[in-house]
Symmetry: C2
Subunit: 324 residues, 2 copies
């Protein structure tokens, strides 16, 4: 049994602002000649924070809103912080986000614009996690830990409900793997209601800690990460999340940076979607193993679209946009 509970996930739908729910799910024919399989898009970028993360922060913020001094701090690669800032702003929460100073500027700018306090650390996401934990202890406020805190997994799991409620005709779901909230949340629901659907997690070769942990069935950490997929670049998997992942994932695969970039290009050229690298992991996995997916119907969750445009243009082949 995972830490997730289906009744709680269904209840979560009543708490989350509807603007984040019932996101588009559609076959994308135009991608299929390039990929050799049927592909459906589950699009999590057409909302005020351009990622799925607000599904979880809506739960966190709504529970905190009733307390006497509502405040929260989180470490974030950028999307969780933006989502927590959004959810907190509407509920009078005092939100602090700790992020790496190497996080995409677009994400950091949006966090500031949403009135959160932003603290930058000289280090990566796991450095930010330590700092956020210290801040929470010192200030006595709620620490929101992505993937460990059950709300972050339950929020992500509501995507799974939407997939199974669509009367799925698909054979596999490709899920970006970072801390594991998305994979364990969606995976839990799929295994409960559509056990025949393959749950495939995808992580960059340059940030393989959770995938290695899943394969070895124990937490494996790495000393560093090296990937453009900033949203999934963690070094220290959480045991409780790994335990859940072992129960719901059918596979975890690692993909190369060049495949992530090719995936971003395909999504731009054939689907008209601007996605961040983490959101192209599923397409990257198909590109690296066409035989596996040939003739099958695959869903890929487009989990975020927050990019620095100059980097995005570099990746997709065009130089930075200049002013008018």
């Amino acid at each position: 049994m995972t830490r997730l509970d289906t009744d709680r996930i269904r209840a979560a739908r009543r708490v989350i602002d509807p603007v984040f729910l019932d996101t588009p799910l559609y076959r994308c024919d135009a991608l299929e000649p390039a990929l050799g399989c049927a592909v459906s898009i589950k699009l999590e970028t057409a909302n005020p924070v351009r990622s799925f993360k607000a599904r979880g922060t809506e739960l966190v913020a709504s529970r905190l809103a009733g307390t006497s001094s509502p405040a929260a701090v989180c470490a974030s690669a950028g999307n969780l912080g933006q989502a927590l800032a959004w959810s907190g702003r509407g509920r009078g929460l005092d939100v602090t986000v700790v992020a790496s100073r190497f996080a995409p500027a677009a994400k950091l700018d949006r966090i500031r614009a949403l009135d959160a306090r932003l603290e930058l650390v000289d280090g990566d996401f796991d450095t930010a996690r330590e700092r956020a934990a210290a801040l929470a202890r010192y200030e006595g406020i709620r620490l929101v830990e992505d993937s460990l805190d059950i709300e972050t997994c339950e929020g992500a799991a509501t995507i799974g409900l939407e997939l199974v409620d669509s009367a799925p005709s698909f054979d596999a779901v490709l899920i970006a793997l970072g801390g594991g909230a998305l994979a364990t949340g969606v995976g839990h629901v799929l295994k409960s209601f559509a056990p025949g659907v393959e749950v495939i997690c995808v992580q960059p070769l340059g940030a393989p800690a959770m995938t290695r942990s899943w394969r070895q069935r124990r937490v494996v950490t790495t000393d560093s990460t090296d990937t453009i997929a900033d949203g999934v670049a963690g070094r220290r998997p959480i045991q409780a999340v790994l335990d859940d992942l072992l129960l719901v994932a059918d596979d975890a695969v690692l993909v190369q940076e060049t495949s992530i970039i090719a995936g971003m290009r395909l999504l731009l050229e054939h689907a008209g979607l601007v996605v961040e690298p983490s959101a192209a992991l599923g397409i990257a996995a198909i590109l690296e193993d066409r035989d596996r997916f040939a003739g099958r119907h695959v869903v890929t969750i487009i989990c975020g679209g927050n990019v620095d445009l100059p980097a995005y243009h570099r990746w997709t082949g065009a130089p930075p946009v200049h002013g008018p």
Copy 2:
């Protein structure tokens, strides 16, 4: 009274494939500093044909599907043809699309990929209209006339229902104006259920026929068009559509090409959306008249996202994407 009927529009929702319904509607804070007003996006591009046109073609195709030799022909700037091809493919319809050979290649390629017969004419959209009408007469098949055929207006009007059902807090809706199906359909519903919301149609200065007609309250044609907004570039407004537009539009404004391009850039940079020029008309209208919208809450319908990427990159400031 317009030609539209609210009961028929509500009934249309039960016929249209749900993949085209209940599209995202969300406040886009990130756009607001650049525009000086509150902006909500109604996003019609996250579906298999990347435009709102399938709402109408679903109605056309479902009615034709029961007939003895189901076939249809339409003239299209690209999006209607793609939508009719999609709706027809799923229902065994024989679809012919007549388009200008100057239509975006991406749109023409998608029409072909959806198994429609594509006939190109040496001329513009209105030349294609004549040819489609001739084909329909010659072959004795259904001619689908955008904006004139009530299904195309009713399909578009379902967007209006979604706007008013969202318990609108907005003051104005900005609607791309071409043939008029979108404007009359959405406008009819807004005037019926949210009469205080201003209905503002936006057309390019380079294709002003319908706006001039609306202002003069009679059909005014032009000899040519000169705009990158291919989706709204008609020269010959239809009297019956103009009659409806006169009843539901509060204003019709014309915008410059540079504003359309600036709008596309803003939507890319601050909303992460790749849109075709017609879909940037609303943002262009705000840019050209900030005082009018200052402090108000405006909805803009992002009606389509089918672009030729080389042209799109040229407009938004970056050169064409090159292969890996």
